[in-house]
């Protein structure tokens, strides 16, 4: 299938890395470590939220290895390395969240080593919805806003938060549409293309991102397609560190249609638009509690993740699940145990493929996936 101009644009954004975003004159960049971040709050403060999501295989780790041990995931180290190598210059600050012990300690290490940056840590609640949870999250978001006000010396108005919600609803809606399109006709959109289109949004203002997504939608709709004999799979586990594009190409080449995945999960988080009504900060908090994804970094007793995964498989008509945890990613690796039990109960075939952002040979993975696919196709 031939690439399209919009996909090539997204590819160029990815290849350019964070550099161009850091040099923009309209809004200073603010790094958002995965998974979810309330991007709107930073946007409302006049900043450009960008993904602080590692460096792929693009840099050598020189300094970060001395700070974080060998058994720590790559994204933590390469994100830190970017800072040590002065590749985050121009970044106003960065925010980390209560996703895992590594991300939490990483926030401290950033704070100590890069005192000029505004380092924020958001404790996203690990509990179910209830009035006290919502009140807490609102107070947390207000605290973050107050911190930004003190840092930047200007008010962060509710009206600006409303405007930012509107801005971000657009690319999120478009991404949902593209995902739906791919679930329905996976032969129309390569997963590596969709991945690049989504990932580009972690380095662009939402309106620029939307323009690319809109163009892509039209281009994909116009494609002539032919469905192949492939296995429809759901990908689970790559919500934080991101896989190399080559790995996705490998999965497809080995006979999979990816009909659902959790790549860049935080940037696509909501299952519907965040309401644009009054009290935008509360709307944003409530949306997080009620319309967010079931992801390994979030505990929600009302919506157990292993049940949600089964539902995703059924809803997308998938035949199998490929677990794709980043190497050393504790939340994803732990969840595998419960997921696996549930898949076995439900008779859903599954395969585990660990990855690292810096991985560059895929031969072994290809072999494993091919065998898995064959076992399903000729069952």
């Amino acid at each position: 299938m031939e690439s399209t101009p919009a996909v090539e644009q997204a590819r160029a954004v990815l290849t350019g890395g964070l550099g161009p975003a850091l040099k923009r004159s309209d809004a200073p960049a603010f790094g958002c470590f995965p998974v979810y971040s309330p991007f709107e709050l930073f946007r409302a403060a006049g900043l450009l939220p960008v993904g602080l999501m590692g460096a792929g295989g693009q840099i050598d780790i020189v300094h970060a290895d001395a700070r974080f041990q060998s058994f720590v995931c790559s994204i933590a180290k390469s994100s830190l390395e970017l800072a040590f190598q002065k590749r985050l210059q121009g970044m106003e600050g960065a925010v980390f969240h209560s996703i895992c012990d590594v991300a939490r300690n990483l926030a401290s290490v950033f704070k100590r080593n890069f005192p000029a940056m505004h380092i924020e840590y958001i404790h996203l609640p690990q509990n179910s919805a209830g009035p006290e949870v919502e009140d807490y999250l609102v107070s947390e978001y207000r605290r973050v806003m107050a911190g930004l006000e003190a840092r930047l010396g200007r008010r962060v108005e509710d009206a600006a938060v409303s405007a930012a919600i509107r801005e971000y609803n657009r690319p999120r809606r478009l991404m949902r549409e593209l995902y739906a399109m791919r679930t329905k006709e996976p032969e129309r959109i390569n997963s590596s293309e969709l991945f690049m289109l989504v990932r580009a949004g972690t380095m662009l203002p939402p309106d620029e991102h939307s323009r690319i997504l809109e163009a892509a939608k039209l281009e994909f709709a116009a494609r002539k397609t032919k469905r192949m004999d492939r296995v429809r799979v759901v990908i689970e586990g790559a919500f934080c560190e991101q896989p190399p594009v080559g790995l996705l190409e490998t999965l497809e080449g080995a006979g999979c249609y990816l009909v659902e995945d959790d790549f860049c999960a935080g940037w696509r988080w909501f299952t519907q638009d965040v309401p644009e009504g009054p009290d935008p900060v509360r709307q944003l908090a409530r949306a997080w509690l009620e319309n967010g994804r079931a992801t390994s970094t979030r505990f929600d007793p009302e919506r157990p993740r292993h049940k949600a995964l089964v539902r995703r498989v059924r809803e997308t008509g998938a035949q199998a699940v490929i677990f794709m945890p980043a190497k050393f990613c504790e939340p994803a690796l732990f969840d595998y145990v419960l997921y696996r039990r549930e898949m076995e109960k439900e008779n859903i075939p599954h395969l585990m493929v660990e990855f690292e952002e810096k991985m560059w040979t895929f031969e072994r993975t290809r072999g494993e996936v091919e065998t898995f696919v064959e076992s399903l196709l000729f069952d």
Binding site: F68, S108, H123
Partner: protein
């Protein structure tokens, strides 16, 4: 060393054995019990309802000390746990599936699981798994991580409102009505034990230190966490304070001669506790403070449960007054105080693969203490539960080299 601090050892052993006996009895009788975690725990509320607390972390470390952890870890890995997951969880899962929990085991199937999410994200996973495996309900207390100097009012309100939900769950499980006066009494007893804790830690400022505040602290950690809020805990600390005061007066410590005073950061390698300890003893190195001993609470700096504000003080303990819910930079501050006020010569970081809460970023800690503050710092690696990550010869080399150079430095300093 045979005669050293025997009363404390004995009293601690007795207290813990009695607790294990109660757990075994509860396993048979079905008396109310709850799983909960050590860090910043709210055992007071369970106590107020006579619900026996079960600490799977303590069980896991006991399995490791008794060298029983590896087969259980392997069993868990067969179930899909990764070699990179916290081995405490794996040992516990293996133990559960090997029949350790329930009527025929030594640990009761809990009436419910109380997940005090205080710092460690693994807690959530661990207890979700236990709830699933055992088919029991889970109550989550989501404790916001300390993001600035103090918890915000919103944080305290949030935790207190969840404690009220916990109280409702305890009422459901036991059929008892909540009695605030009973909770006040429990908090009063907690505060008394915490006084004893602080005294023991303060006594380690003496030279020589009367106890090894890392290796021997485990004798205090059991009672302060497992028994806090009972008269037994108060009595235990009376024994401990008396014995350590006597040792200070007699200028005695755990080793014949205290040559180096160290602060230790990180949990110990439980499967090789003795061997690891001996490597320090060989150099006359005594830990005068340790961060690991404060995972349950940091009482040495004055925090107490408050009978006048029971729920608020429980919330403060969970939010702020324990090691796990504080940032790495707050831990640096804590260690600095230890080095200064307890007059330590060096910092030893034991970095464990299992526990990223402790270990992620310890390289930065080493950089800060060694390069910025000029505190001699040693970083060694192994694990707290999984014996596969401990290499005695390498450990010995690293430790010997470090103390050799420390001894050299001391000599030069004196000259």
């Amino acid at each position: 060393m045979a005669e050293y601090a025997t009363a404390v050892h004995e009293a601690s052993r007795k207290a813990m054995t009695a607790w294990y006996d109660r757990l075994a009895a509860a396993a048979k009788s079905g008396a109310p019990s709850a799983y909960t975690m050590i860090s910043g725990n709210c055992v007071e509320i369970l106590r107020a309802f006579d619900i026996e607390p079960v600490f799977p972390e303590v069980n896991a470390l006991q399995l490791a000390i008794r060298k029983q952890s590896l087969p259980l870890i392997l069993k868990a890995e067969e179930m899909g746990y990764s070699s990179d997951n916290c081995a405490y969880v794996k040992a516990d899962a293996g133990f559960t599936f090997a029949g350790g929990v329930g009527k025929d085991g030594k640990i009761p199937t809990p009436s419910f699981i109380l997940c005090n999410f205080v710092g460690c994200n693994v807690y959530i996973k661990w207890f979700e798994h236990s709830a699933e495996f055992l088919g029991v309900p889970l109550t989550m207390i989501d404790v916001p991580f300390v993001r600035s100097d103090r918890p915000t009012d919103g944080d305290v309100r949030y935790v207190v409102s969840q404690l009220n939900k916990l109280i409702a769950e305890c009422e459901r499980v036991t059929g008892k009505k909540f009695d605030i006066d009973r909770l006040r009494e429990v908090c009063r007893l907690s505060a008394k034990a915490e006084d004893g804790w602080q005294k023991c830690k303060d006594l380690c400022k003496a030279t020589p230190s009367p106890m090894d505040a890392y290796f021997d602290a485990i004798n205090l950690m059991g009672p302060i966490n497992v028994l806090r809020g009972t008269q037994d805990a108060v009595d235990f600390f009376d024994v401990a304070v008396k014995e350590y005061e006597g040792l200070v007066a007699g200028k005695k410590g755990p080793l014949p001669q205290e040559k180096f005073r160290i602060v230790v950061e990180g949990p110990p390698p439980y499967p090789f506790y003795r061997q690891f300890r001996d490597l320090f003893a060989a150099w006359g190195a005594v830990a005068v403070q340790s961060t690991y001993s404060t995972v349950g609470g940091i009482w040495e700096f004055g925090f107490r449960h408050d009978p006048k504000r029971p729920l608020e003080s429980i919330a403060e303990q969970m939010l702020m007054e324990n090691l796990c819910n504080r940032s790495l930079l707050d831990r640096y501050k804590q260690i600095r105080r230890y080095v200064d006020e307890w007059k330590a010569d060096a910092l030893v970081i034991h970095s464990v693969k299992s526990c990223r809460l402790f270990s992620a970023g310890q390289g930065d800690m080493r950089d800060y203490f060694a390069n910025e503050l000029g505190v001699p710092t040693l970083l060694v690696e192994s694990d707290l539960e999984d014996p596969r990550y401990y290499a005695q010869a390498m450990m010995k080399n690293r430790i010997d080299a470090f103390f050799e150079s420390l001894a050299h430095r001391k000599l030069i300093k004196r000259a």
